[in-house]
Amino acid sequence: MPAPAIQMTGIDKRFGAVHANNAVSMTVEKGTVHGLIGENGAGKSTLMSILYGFYHADAGSIAINGKPSLIRTPADAIHSGIGMVHQHFMLVETFTVVENVMLGAEGGAFTARGASAVRAKLQALSYAYGMDVNPDAVVSELAVGELQRVEILKALVKGADILILDEPTAVLTPTEVEKLFVLLRRLAGEGKTIIIVTHKLKEIMAVTDRVSVMRRGEMVGTVETSNSSPADLAELMVGRRVVLTVEKGPANPQGVVLDVKDLTVRDARGTVRLDHVSFQVRAGEIVGIAGVSGNGQSELLEAIAGIRKPAGGAVSLNGELLDCGGRDDPTALRAKGLRHVPEDRHRMGLVKPFEAAESALLGCSDEPGFGSGPFLDRDAVLADCVRKMEAFDVRPADPRLRTALFSGGNQQKIVLAREIERDPKLLLIGQPTRGVDIGAIEFIHKRIIALRDAGKAVLLVSTELDEVLALSDRVLVMCGGRITGERRPEDTNEQDMGLLMAGVSSDAPKVAA
C-alpha cells in the first residue's frame, strides 16, 4: 500500500484563549476524495490553513506522500504539490484570468514569456477537463461558477497533486455542484487527492470516499462514507442526536399581508438588480425565496425593509401602500409591524463590540419601558435581554457579555429574539442559519414555524436550498433579479429547482408524479 498523500499528526494550534486545534491527526489516502466536516469553529479551516502553510502549528508534524515536510508558508505548500481553493476566492479582480493564474509563478522577471506559457497550460487543462474559461477575461466580469473554475485551474497549473476545497459549493447552483463533483471524482481517478471541507452532509455523502469529523478543535473520527449516514455524521459533529428534518403541519393562510408589485431596484451604478418582481405573502404562511446568492435576494429584502429605495413598483403592507426607503424608513416600518432579520448579522444585525443587551436593543431604544427622555433605564434593558435570552435559549445567558464573544448561533438567536418577540405582522428573514451550528438550526427553524402557526406572515430568503424547501409553504426562485418560477415544496425536486435557479424559466408548475 502506498504512503498516504497526507498525514497530519498531533497538530496543535491556539489563538489566544481559543484552542482551535487540539492534537488533531488526520490521514488522507492518495487518489481519494476526503471530506472534512464540523460545525462552525470546530477547527477545520484552521487545520486546512495549517496544511497550506497559512498558519503555523504550535506543535505537530505533517508528512506528504510519506515524506516529513516542513510547511511554513504557502510557498512551501505549493512546492509540496498542495493547492487550495479558498471559500472566499483569492483572485485579483482587476486582473485577467492569465494574470491571476501566473501570479507567483511568472517564470522570469518579465511577464511576456510566462504569460504565453500559462495560457498554453490553461488551454490544455480546460480542454482536458471541459472547464471552459476565457484566459483573457477580466476576473471582475466573471460569474461565481467561473471564478471557482479559475481557482481550480490556478492550483492545477501550479502542479497541485493535492487539492483542498473550502466550502466549494456555497455559491453554486445544484447543477454546477453536480459538475464540480464529476470533476473532483475524475481528478481523484487520475491519482490526485482531494480534500473537501463543508458543512453540508448531503454533499459529503455524494462525493467523498472517507469523512473526517471535527468537533471543538478535536478530531472525533474518520469513517468510510459508505458505512455512514447523514444522521450518524451529524451526531458525530454535534455530540448528540439531532433531528435533521423539520416537522411542520399544513399552513393555514389568511389574508394578504405583503403585496409586492413590479418592484424594481437599481444599484448605485444604475444596473438593474431587481426586475419587476411581484408576489404576495399571506398571514400564516412562509414564502421562501431560493436562488444562488447575488441574484437580487438581498436587494429584495432591503427594499421591502426600507433600507434601499426602489426604482419602481409598489409594496403594500396590510393593504396600505408603502413608500419604502422614503417616508417609510425602517423605523416607520417597524411601527407598522414589519420586522427584519438581516442576511448578514455582522454587517447589519448586531454591533459586535456592544454587550449583548445593547445589541438586543438596537432599533428599539425608543420604546417606552427602556427609559424616559434621552435616558436609558439600564436595569430595564438588562432585564429585558435576560428575558429574551431565556426565551431563545441563548448561551451563556449573560446580557453583559460582548456580542462578539457569542457563537454564531447564539448571536443569531439574539437578533431573532429582538425581532420576533415584538410580535411582528410580517417578518423578513434572510439567511436564518448562516454560520449557525446544527443544534441551533433546529431551534431557529422551530421558532420560525411557530411564528407562522401564530398567524404571522414570513418572507424567508436563504441560499440553502434544503432549508427553503423544508420551511416554506411556497417557494419562489430568483435568478438575475427576476422570479423564474413558483413551486410548492412537495411538488418539486432538486433538479427542477436547479433549472429555475439557473434561469431556465418555466411558468407551468410541474405536476407531482
Binding site: 497550506y52 505548500a77 512546492h79 483569492m90 485579483v92 479582480e93 501570479l103 511577464t111 511576456a112
Partner: protein
Amino acid sequence: MSEAFQIILLAVDSAIRLSVPLLFACLAGLYSERAGVVDIGLEGKMLIGAFAAGAVASLVPNPWLGLLAAVMASVLFALVHGFASISQRGNQIVSGVAINVLASGLTAILGNAWFGQGGRTPQLPSGARFNEITLPLAEAARSVPLVGEIYYQVISGHSVLVYIALGLVPLTWFLLYRTRWGLRLRAVGENPAAVDTAGLSVTRLRYSAVIMAGILCGFGGAYLAIAQSAGFITDMTAGKGFIALAALIFAKWRPLPALGACFLFGLLDAVALRIQGVSFPGIGQVPVQAIQALPYILTVVLLAGFIGKATPPKAVGVPYLKDRS
C-alpha cells in the same frame, strides 16, 4: 516668430521645470499606493530630501552626493512609514501626517542649528548644483523655425534630473505592466490575500514599493534644493506633495496620465507666476494670493467632477492581516 509663440514656449518651458518635482512625488505615490500603502507623507519625504541635498551639497560641492543624501534621508523616512503601516499595521494616514510634521520641524531646527541662517542652507555655488544641460545641436537648431525653436527652448536646457523624471514615466509603465515585480505589486494593492496564498510575501512587496517611493521623493527633494534653487529654504516643498497626490488621483493611478496631470498642474503654476502683477481689463490687478490659489481651486474642481470616477487600488490604506476564522 511671433511674440505670442515665444511666450507659449517660455510658459511650456517653465511648466516643465515646475512639474518635475510633482512628477517625482506623483510617481512615488503611484508605486506606494498601487501596492496598497497610502502615502500622504510625500511632502515630508521630499522636504527632508531637499534639506539633506542642500546640506550635503553645501559641505561637499558635488550635486551627486547631494542627491545621494536626499535619497538616503527620504528612504529612511519611507522606512519609518513602512514600519508603522506594514509591520505594525498602523493607520497609514496618521503615519503619513507624522512624517510631514516631523520633516517640517526637523529641517527647520537642524537647519538653524547647523547653518544659522534661519533654517536655510548656505547658498550653493554652481559646481554644487545640477546645472542646465544644453543638448547636442541645440545652438545650431535654434535658428530653424518651429521645430528648432521648440528643441532649443523647451527640450534642451534642463538639468539632468528633468530628463530622469521624464524617463521614469515609460520606465514605470514598463515595470508595472511588463515585469514580474509589477504584476505582484499591482496584485498586492488589489488583494493582498491572493498574493499571500500564492506563496508570496505581502510584507516584502509592500516594503519594496514604499522604498521605491522614498527614492523618488528623494529625487524630487534634491531637484527642489540643488537644481531648481541654490540651496534649501524652510518649507520649500510648499504643498507640492499634496498636489502630487491630487495629480495621482486625477491620473487614476496610471503612469502616463500622471505625466499629463503633473504637467497640467505645473502649467497652472507657471501661468500663475506669469500673471502676477498683470492688470486685467475690468478687474484690475488680481491679488497674488488669488493667483497662487488657482492650482488648488482647479484641483478641487477637477477632482469634484471632471475626471469621472477614480477607483483607487482596492486594498489601499488597509493593513494586511491574515483573517483568523
